[in-house]
């Protein structure tokens, strides 16, 4: 503090210096309430040596025996089925590159918050392939071309027209020429000079899956009205592309793909997502676990700057101690590699001290008590 402390300094002011240690939401308390808060805070603080890691691990896995193994969906509501319960929790801690059911919740900016606009944006997002807007495709044997008949209604639903479809197709398949016959028909013809029916058939099957509109990876879409607000829930995720769209509220749009968030928004955002997803997964199952435990797991997964899984190929596999690694999994591999690299185990972690029979360096094992024998 800049101000010189004087004898006159009141008790409140002295305590004021501690106020900053309080969690922010209690810092503006006054008088008695503040005193009470400080008193409680003093009692509630962590003690030196507390084995927060083990407590966090136990706090997450002890209730894991209670949560469901499968995603049951509440009947009667139209809803996208996402992975829930234990499988989702494991997926988060495993740091899978892609979740089993990637999903986004897209919020819209104020000006775009109408049913019409929501549908329009949704159509821009949903991955649409040719077969979604197609009536039929037939090989014209006389002309040796492929005739693609589009469905007018479907086109309208997807905010598309023949031109757009044609452009998209010619962009995605350079080996063929496309021509518009009428408002709903496109003629496709391979560019090669000589080709047979087989080539046409191959082209037909390929073309069906060519995507004509939307964002790659977004397979299903659900437009909902949440109170006054329209929001779009998707199955499949592509955060980068969705954030680029006009009208999408970039601040609130959400995905459950942790790696995508780490890439687009950075590691701190990924940490927050791990916390949020893990906490939600537990809360959904009626499990009450303190955020702090999940924060610690998220921190150990992200503190290196990239996402590390909980397990053999992540945190546990990258420990400094040879014995700790050998004790977990792949014992022989870790021992032989350590010999090759000439590693030295400093015996600082818990397992090694258990192995050699010393007191474990956490909690009361970190201090020594002297007493007369």
């Amino acid at each position: 503090m800049a101000k010189k402390s004087t004898a006159k300094q009141s008790k409140a002011e002295v305590e004021g210096s501690n106020v900053l240690m309080l969690p922010p939401k209690y810092q503006n308390l006054k008088g008695k309430a503040l005193e009470e808060a400080l008193k409680r805070y003093e009692k509630m603080r962590y003690e030196y040596g507390e084995a927060v890691g083990v407590v966090a691990a136990q706090s997450i896995s002890e209730p894991a025996t209670q949560i469901t193994l499968r995603a049951y969906h509440a009947a009667g509501r139209v809803q996208l089925v996402t992975t829930k319960g234990l499988p989702r929790l494991i997926e988060i801690f495993d740091a899978k590159k892609e979740p089993k059911t990637p999903s986004m919740t897209i919020y819209l900016e104020k000006d775009y918050n109408t049913a019409e606009k929501a549908h329009e944006i949704a159509s821009k997002i949903k991955e649409t392939s040719l077969k979604d807007v197609m009536e039929y495709d037939a090989i014209d044997l006389a002309e040796m071309v492929l005739e693609i008949k589009l469905n007018e209604e479907k086109l309208k639903n997807h905010f598309l027209d023949v031109n757009a479809v044609k452009n998209a197709l010619s962009k995605s398949m350079a080996t063929a020429e496309f021509e518009i016959k009428d408002d709903t028909t496109i003629i496709a013809k391979p560019k090669a000079k000589h080709y047979g029916i087989k080539d046409l058939q191959l082209m037909r099957t390929k073309l069906r899956d060519r995507h004509v509109k939307g964002i790659r990876g977004i397979k299903q879409i659900l437009i909902e009205k949440d109170g006054e607000e329209w929001k779009i829930t998707t199955l499949g995720s592509n955060l980068k592309k969705v954030l680029d769209l006009k009208g999408v509220d970039k601040k609130r749009t959400y995905t459950n793909n942790i790696f995508e968030v780490a890439e687009v928004l950075g590691i701190e955002a990924a940490r927050n997502l791990i916390i949020k997803e893990a906490l939600n997964t537990l809360r959904e199952q009626g499990v009450d676990t303190d955020v702090r435990h999940i924060m610690l797991v998220a921190d150990i997964m992200t503190h290196t700057g990239s996402i590390q899984a909980i397990g053999r190929y992540g945190v546990a596999g990258s420990k400094a101690s040879v014995l700790a690694r050998a004790n977990f999994e792949e014992t022989v591999k870790h021992l032989t590699k350590a010999a090759f690299k000439g590693e030295r185990d400093m015996l600082t972690s818990v397992v090694e001290n258990v192995i050699i029979g010393n007191a474990v360096p956490v909690g009361t094992g970190m201090i020594k008590v002297k007493y007369k024998d």
Binding site: P23, R40, V52, Q58, K219, I300, V362
Partner: protein
Amino acid sequence: MGKVNAIDFSLMSPEIIDKLAVMEVTTSEVYDLDGYPVEGGIMDPRLGVIDPGMRCKTCGNVFGECPGHFGKITLAKPVVNVYYLKEIKDFLSYTCHECGALLLDDENLMNYKKGKKVTIPKKCPKCEAKIKDVKFEKPFSFYYGEDILTPEQIREHLERVSDEDAEKLGLVGGRPEWMVLTKLIVPPVTARPSITLETGERSEDDLTHKLVEIVRINNRLKENLDIGTPDYIIEDMWELLQYHVATYLNNELSGVPPARHRSGRALKTLAQRLKSKEGRFRYNLSGKRVNFSARTVVSPDPNIHPNEVGVPEEVAKELTIPIKVTSYNKEFLKKLILNGSEKHPGANYVITPTGIRKKVMESNKEIIAESLQEGDVVERHLMDGDVVLFNRQPSLHRMSIMAHKVKVLPGKTFRLNLVVCPPYNADFDGDEMNLHVPQTAEARAEAEELMLVEKNLRSPRFGGPILGAQQDYVSGAYLLTKDDTVLSREEVAQLLASIDRYEPLDKESYTGKEVFSFILPKGLNVKFKSAVGDEVEIKNGKLVKGVIDEKAISAFKGKLLDAIDKQYGNKAAVDFLYDVTRLIIAYLNMKGFSVSLGDLDIPEEAEKKIQQIIDKYLARVEEHIKAYKEGKIVPTPGKTAEETLEDLIMAEMWNITNEVQQVIKENAKFSEALVMAITGARGNIQNLAYMSGLVGQETIRGKRPFRGYRGRTLSHFKRGDLGPYAHGFVRESFKKGLSPIGFFFEAMKGREGIMDSSLKTRISGYLERRLVNALQDLKVDKDLTVRDDSGSIIQFVAGEDGIDPAKSDWGELMKD
């Protein structure tokens, strides 16, 4: 003994093997005709003693003292070490075969270290020799271009690689040629003891078997080399030697048939000894066995304090605590010794400062007592008030091991108060628990201060109470405190006497709330909502409004426990729990509490209403099926028509369940069964609805059951029947009795539940192991940061605000 400061790992050089070895194994013979180990054989007496009564030829120690000594085998031809196949390949690929220089430039070296793809130059940058590809072929052949490389050639090549280049390729503190073995170290016999069977036959360890084979083939190879046998025979034998050495190191190599015992069982060689759950690491090194422990069945005792554990006398006489004799306790300890080891508060051993251990027996107890001196240590029986650790597996959280104070009781089971059941997750259908006796003052103090039951009232998981009342306590508390409970003066006196409270009673009758208020701490103020749904208010230590139920005194939810803990401390809270539970038991003993089939009776009109609900929704289901068959159903996006129909039917089934539940809720008569459901003692309204309403739709994996015969679940239905009854709709209630078909569907669902829960324990068990392994080294440092064992900071302030959830108010500083 010195302290272990660090452990170094490195490749073993032939020189070190020479230094360590006390003898060389030269003959494959193990025992001579008299059954004595052959000198120079694999069980050479110089390698250590495994038989009691023998002396070690090397160090002169007896069995148990001699740690064993290493031997060695000099291989006739070198073989590759199978643990380093990949590293050998890297060395062969990335160094020049002519001059041994490193072929990789800095960029490629980086890639190599990162495990990325590496490009090898066409020519050696130093000697310009042309570089060919190195190929590895399972199990242990290396090719340079088209030519096969013998281990001898590989070793020669590796010898040419300089120390600096080797270090660049990741090999530190060793020579690359050591990855090709020329000498084999022979583990001491103490590491591979042979056992003598009852028949007098000797049974050797798997390692010994393997070593014998190595020596045998090695000697044959040597002889053949000496007499100049043709190369192809030499090569065959060489390969056999390679095979034996490989399986000696690891008997689970891919592409190598495992070496087998005569019986066909695969041998357990070096790698197998170390790895996996039953291996040296997890089974022997991180898993320790202990003395001073006991295990028996647990049974309930509501009349001992939650902090206590009832220990059978039989156990108390076996478990001991070492006590040093001083002038203060000498007489007391003498008395114990005079009691002997057979009578309860007695002693089993006396240890003198010189280390002599005297067993207290009926015959010598007087003598021992008489000669007892200050400074001796008496191992006395476990007595009332001793601190012990009590544990129930699976130890899923830290409250699975708590400290209790001993109370020696008759009987053969451990007794525990029922309020500690939730943290242990114990019941009394045959559960067994373990008890451990800490042996030092330090350990006892730690156990008492940190692990005592009352100190673990609040769970670190969510910051709420984890001790608490369950079942009858909850329903009893409700019955005692509900508005119309009135007790006579005599009854109240009786109740209070049962918990050793003697209050002046000046009124003729008391309400239940008043009785309850007697045990509340003076001056307590708290308000909360009960499970039944009314507002509970405790003002100045008096229950003025509302009932006590699950939300007040149960584990996980008990708001009243939480309030007492916060305002009066954990000891007061646990004492309160002890009083409440005994009071409620006394009350229930007085009034009685039982359920009968009659509790499930519902009025006729309710029965009719249920029928109406069922009829209504089954008719709707009928319509959906009709629409589906006519192809009129509009599929929801992303789903097929069948899936949409299933969704619709399931929704109707949900409606039935929900509405019937509502009917039961409105019509159930006030009975013990209902009391249990609404107070949260046991069961819920849904269970009541199953019993007196209907069971409803059975689901398998969240869907209607479809498996079974072709097109139908059971042969009682027509193929393709999509109706409710054909797919798991059970119209009957449990009270009425299930139809055989309904029973079958119920069994299907029950079976699914059993399979799920067994699968779940396995999966979540592994999750726990991984989480603990990733997090176990994290601890809070003096500056409130969270650090790992190397001192790197994981969190700058533990939990972001420094609040320990175990001491918090449901995770907050202040909940209100």
